[in-house]
Symmetry: C2
Amino acid sequence: MMHFLRRILIGRPLHNQEMIREKLPKWKALAIFSSDALSSVAYGPEQIMLILAIPGMLAYGFIGPVAIAILILLAIVTLSYVQVAKANPGGGGSYAVAIHNLGEWPALTAAASLFADYTLTVAVSVSAGTAAIVSAFPELAVHQVVLDIFVLFGILTLINLRGVRESSSTFVIPTYAFIIGIIVLIGAGIFQSFQGTAPAIPPQSLEKQLNFPVFYLLLRAFANGCSSMTGIEAISNGVPMFKEPEVKNATKTTYLMSGILGIMFFGITYLLMHFHILPIEDVTALSQIAEKTFGRGFMYYYIQITTMLVLYLAANTSFNGLPPLLSILAKDGYMPRYLGTRGERLSFSNGIILLSITAGLLIFFYDGNTENLISLYAIGVFLSFTIAQSGMVVHWRKEQGSGWMIRAVLNAFGAVITGIVVIIILVTKFFYGAWMVIVFIPIMIFILKKIRHHYNDMAEQLHLPVDEIEATFNTPIGKNMVIVPIASPTRVVAETLKYAKAISNDVIALHIAIDEESGKRVEKKWESLRTDFKLVVVYSPYRLVIQPLIDYVSKLEKAKAPEDFITVLIPEFETKKNWHRLLHNQTGWVLRTLLILKDNVVVTTIPFHLKK
Amino acid sequence: MMHFLRRILIGRPLHNQEMIREKLPKWKALAIFSSDALSSVAYGPEQIMLILAIPGMLAYGFIGPVAIAILILLAIVTLSYVQVAKANPGGGGSYAVAIHNLGEWPALTAAASLFADYTLTVAVSVSAGTAAIVSAFPELAVHQVVLDIFVLFGILTLINLRGVRESSSTFVIPTYAFIIGIIVLIGAGIFQSFQGTAPAIPPQSLEKQLNFPVFYLLLRAFANGCSSMTGIEAISNGVPMFKEPEVKNATKTTYLMSGILGIMFFGITYLLMHFHILPIEDVTALSQIAEKTFGRGFMYYYIQITTMLVLYLAANTSFNGLPPLLSILAKDGYMPRYLGTRGERLSFSNGIILLSITAGLLIFFYDGNTENLISLYAIGVFLSFTIAQSGMVVHWRKEQGSGWMIRAVLNAFGAVITGIVVIIILVTKFFYGAWMVIVFIPIMIFILKKIRHHYNDMAEQLHLPVDEIEATFNTPIGKNMVIVPIASPTRVVAETLKYAKAISNDVIALHIAIDEESGKRVEKKWESLRTDFKLVVVYSPYRLVIQPLIDYVSKLEKAKAPEDFITVLIPEFETKKNWHRLLHNQTGWVLRTLLILKDNVVVTTIPFHLKK
């Protein structure tokens, strides 16, 4: 039943040889790598406005300058990442760059930042995608979190466990549909604004006043707007997937993506100011702009639905990013081993599940509220940007290729700028949630180091030098004392004793008696059976069954030679029906759990299958 | 740590000999057995009023007649139960009476009714107790369910797991304090009403109009009021606990209890009508009466607090009733065995936990609302009354003692009347929740029968006739093929192989290789070790580890002789720290769970203790 459901939902296992890598043409690569970056125009300009629309501050007019600052930052980061693409570092992103060039600490900082960031990307994109559709259909507002959770577990997790190709063409359509929709929206909006058919801007609303509180707001708005830049590094991580010439194509695609992102970001921000959009609950700014431009017609719904799709797709990019990173971390010993292996569908199933659960918790605790989640966002992104750029500086210096100085300088400049952005985000969003990320990163690094430490310890303890191996097998093998706990002589006991005889000549049947009377009764019955097994009766006036048994084993343990084994045989009923299991107590399980803590005590389960 | 907490909360284990039974004098027995019955005046009259206070129906005046009908019913049930006490049936109540006199079906019906009833008593009494204190301190209203759950798990469950003596004197004080308080309240109220100092009754409010809808309301009010009669059977179940002459003392105590209950019920109902009490949210009727009589002074708080205490005490009586009943059912094979044995504190711990969880769920799903819970209540009580009385008729006929005819007639009359009450409750409360009980009882009977069936089947399968026993031990014992799954030759593998050698000469080391290359590597390494163990390499191109192993075992299983064993040795890491366990996958556990399903396949866990 479970198996059948699994096959339907997840699909048949895939053979090792079914892992193929397709080379992507530029037009396909653009759609696949840029959904995360491009989709952020759905919430980025709004996040700037949310801060500056504060009443009584005359800050709204600063939306324009803040947007321009972000566009400049975008240009710098793009140039830096083109350098990264040229170095062609393969998978792993900032972590891989850092571990090769900067050492363990920066690498783990990058890993922790990326972990925070990938999970936040999922939470933010899913929430924002649902917000887009809730804006169009307000009656869905009460189900927002339920929708988020359904999209996360019912769609994203499932298709990723099936192991969908990153390169599937189905992913290309929504991204282009979204780009076209937004370009049409911007075109129509700007055309109307010049025609004067759109509502005019009240000029006084754009009056500006700069003082210290407003300046602080500007920095906060800038920090919020930086969330638009997440995902810009995706192409540089995917260089090997491009068609030849790989680097050249990747570079071109990066410029193209940044260009489109810049145009869309600028256009949306322009319209947002033009219509003087203000925050409305359960309606996104983009929805307001589309409604003001097109009315509630076909184009409006087109914009909302493609926005939703591209945002869910953006969430999906994290599923292509974090599980491979976890796998690299696992191979380096920083994460549990089982995150390092591919599941039966060739996807990193455990990593996918870990990502889904973490993002699900974030959505749940933040009630699917994009604005609140954004407060946690961006700091991790820019921290990993800074580390990656710094790593690249070291990389160019080591390589000393032609024109390495210019490249190093470009990356150094990027590192400085993104480093400054980290500080701005940290200061302005500290109390709004950035502190959580600041607390999280050191804890995560601590955990990563602890895990590595444990695996190192373990490897040391498991290592068996070749010369010791023969010695191990040539030492005399000790006796094996077998203990069979019995209640009364039933068929189960007979079966268990038969096995005991097969593995040892030193078998003790052990009976725990609650009072002398019942103990005597069992002793008498045992004698009448005339077996050659010794019966030991232990009295337990406190009606405990497990403790006296453990005590008996401990006593034997002290008496035995170090090379001897003690084996405890525990019969286990295998019931015909699942619910029958509830009718049997779990003494066997408890006993097993406690005995296994002892050295040289082996616990053996003898199954007894009930036929009905 | 856990152990320490357990000792603090539950106490040290008790020795078998610490189980003593104290004989109770009448004054103590009254308090101990009657808290359930007497405390119900805190909600019984109110439950009648809630139905009849419906506006526009002129039904309020019928509260009096309905109360009188209930008093008559009380007299009949009391007389019937005095007969039950005379038969002195020991523990188990209706179930015991029915199984000895009426057969399995009525007995199981009684058992199911009692189960429903005991859990409802806990839920209703705890909710009503909290309602009493919330009436006095309205600021607690928002925490009502939390208080209920705390009282249930934090106090009642805990003290019962400790195994408090039913006869503890601390239980006597609240009951008498409650009786005194209510009597003073009734006295003061009636005195004031005759003095004319209390607010006068508006006579028109007591106008009555009888038509079909009102008649139906009267029946519903009567059905609700019957909830006051729960617990009346408690004394007849506890006859052996009375001082000599047991039966005479029990009879006297029953009359006394019924008398007090009748007086209190009548008095409270009188005052309720006198003050024309109407439903107020979060304030009980008794609280309104006490406030109108005494004002918010000492006596008011005294009444509310003693009411709360006696209601919590009433909930506690179920903890003395259901676990022993479950234990009797378990001994008869109708309930899981582990409900039949006493825990280390001599209490039926598992039954106590089952009762607490069920009652907790009821409180949680009904939001601690007494009125809604009452809808489920009483039907089970009266069903078990009817069965017990019918059983007594058969009992007297079988015994044919002196005057058996009169006794039989009295019980038959009781059976008929309580049977009619069952029908009234069923009809009038069907849609208000009684249908749930009607659905529950057959399901419960079905479950009880299924459990018995399973235990019968099992006993049959486990039974080993004496002549077969010797045969079993004299058959030749088969070979034992030992399989040791290995990844690479580490210290763990060496330890495991040593044990394998100790229990068999037929050991196979099994390696699951994901590709040929890694398979070859392991084979080469193995050869270089020059051990005398055979290595088998199995290829798994789908990267599965568990399935190929299971398949290999299945293949061996088909080839082996029926008396041969297959033993699979699974090493298990015992980590130094608990969290390290998260770093190891649970392959061993999964393997064990799957292999144990096979016949004649024994799974042995070899512990490997990591020292750091």
